[in-house]
Amino acid sequence: MTHEHLVQRFVDQELSAEERIQFVVALGRDESLRERVVELERLVLGASRLARPRVPQGFAVNVVNETMPSVPPVAAKRNRLLDRLWAPRAFHWNQAGAAAVACLLLLAVGAGVVQALRWRTASVVASSGERAAPAVVLVRLVVVQPGARVVQAAGDFNGWNPSQTPLEPTADGAWTVTLPLEPGRYEYQFVVDGEQWIGDPFAAEQSDDGFGSRNAVLDVRPPSGDVL
């Protein structure tokens, strides 16, 4: 087990009794390790002591008023309105009244058409002003795992969630996936059969993952149109 792995497990309070002995021995021998532990412990302590935001006065009352109104529920009001609308009633028309209603209807329809045209124009202008999508580069990851049942990739590109990036097997035992990535620096690992996290032996750069293995480092440059 690497020292970095021990440090992370120590901070998470997950060291076994044997690991604690190994850790204390390592601390006694390595000053930079002591500094790293102090740095992490200070961070964790600082985070746990961050001021809790004050709950505004009347917060609970506002929530309750919004969710459980004491006035009759909206549904009851709506039902009463519907009842009134559907209740049979008699209308009395004369010629002048009918003409006035017809004119009002025509005006309303005309105004509706004009407003619809305005909305349509506005939506065309708005859509032409949208920002262009960020450029992406297609990156192909490949790993050889002939005996594997499932291979996935986890990294900065998917929040280290392997279930989001499964690789497809090829006939010769390799597994591959092509990812559209924005330019930037990404660390990743492969996950074999849902359990074993491994680095990428083909990666140009590696970094310690803090859990006993190595992250592959992928430096995605601005797009040239090719798959790396």
Binding site: L40, A51, R131, A154, F211
Partner: protein, 191 residues
């Protein structure tokens, strides 16, 4: 329930479902600070209160589906985190606010709350830490906040976020590494 003791969350949920406004008010009061803490760390103070309120409104609407075998706080955290995701998605261009005033306000609150133990180093660290947490990528930020600000274990976090422990550990590890890097200049200045 012990007579005279504060009712537990499950009893309050049942009473709320039966239309008891006071019971729901007690539930909200009991969990408001935890929810507000998560929304503040995830979104900054500008949106935190609105999103905290939306969390409770959504919780009330979904209350009938609450599984009494689960912890109410875990269920509520899950709603709060989802609300934060929605809020982050609707922000312009998906960029996260790095408004420096957010951290400043909390740091000064710490000063007011804890006057006898005023410690400039601590205030400075709190201010910088708050800013740095809010500058983390959202997925790392939520894992770090739940683990180290809210003090949850990986099992409960896994239940809240629907993500396995290994993935969460990796996210927390990445967050810690990024934060240490971000705060390194404070250490350098102290030496």
């Amino acid at each position: 329930m012990i007579p005279g003791a504060a009712p537990d969350d499950a009893s309050l949920v049942r009473a709320s479902l039966a239309g008891d406004r006071e019971a729901f008010a007690v539930l909200v009061s009991r969990h408001a600070q935890s929810v507000l803490s998560v929304t503040t760390r995830m979104l900054g103070t500008a949106d935190a209160e609105d999103v905290a309120q939306e969390t409770f409104v959504s919780a009330y609407k979904a209350l009938a589906g609450f599984q009494f075998t689960a912890k109410f706080s875990t269920w509520l955290y899950r709603i709060a985190v989802n609300k934060c995701h929605d809020a982050l998605r609707t922000r312009r261009g998906g960029m996260v606010s790095l408004d420096s005033e957010d951290g400043e306000e909390l740091a000064w609150k710490a000063l007011e709350d804890d006057a006898p133990r005023r410690d400039l180093d601590r205030i400075e660290l709190a201010w910088e830490l708050d800013r740095s947490i809010q500058a983390l990528p959202p997925l790392y930020r939520e894992s770090f906040v739940l683990k180290h600000v809210e003090g949850l274990g990986y099992d409960e976090m896994s239940e809240i976020l629907g993500i396995n422990r290994d993935t969460l550990k990796m996210r927390v590890y990445k967050a810690r590494t990024l934060l240490c890097r971000s705060l390194a200049h404070l250490e350098g200045a102290r030496r």
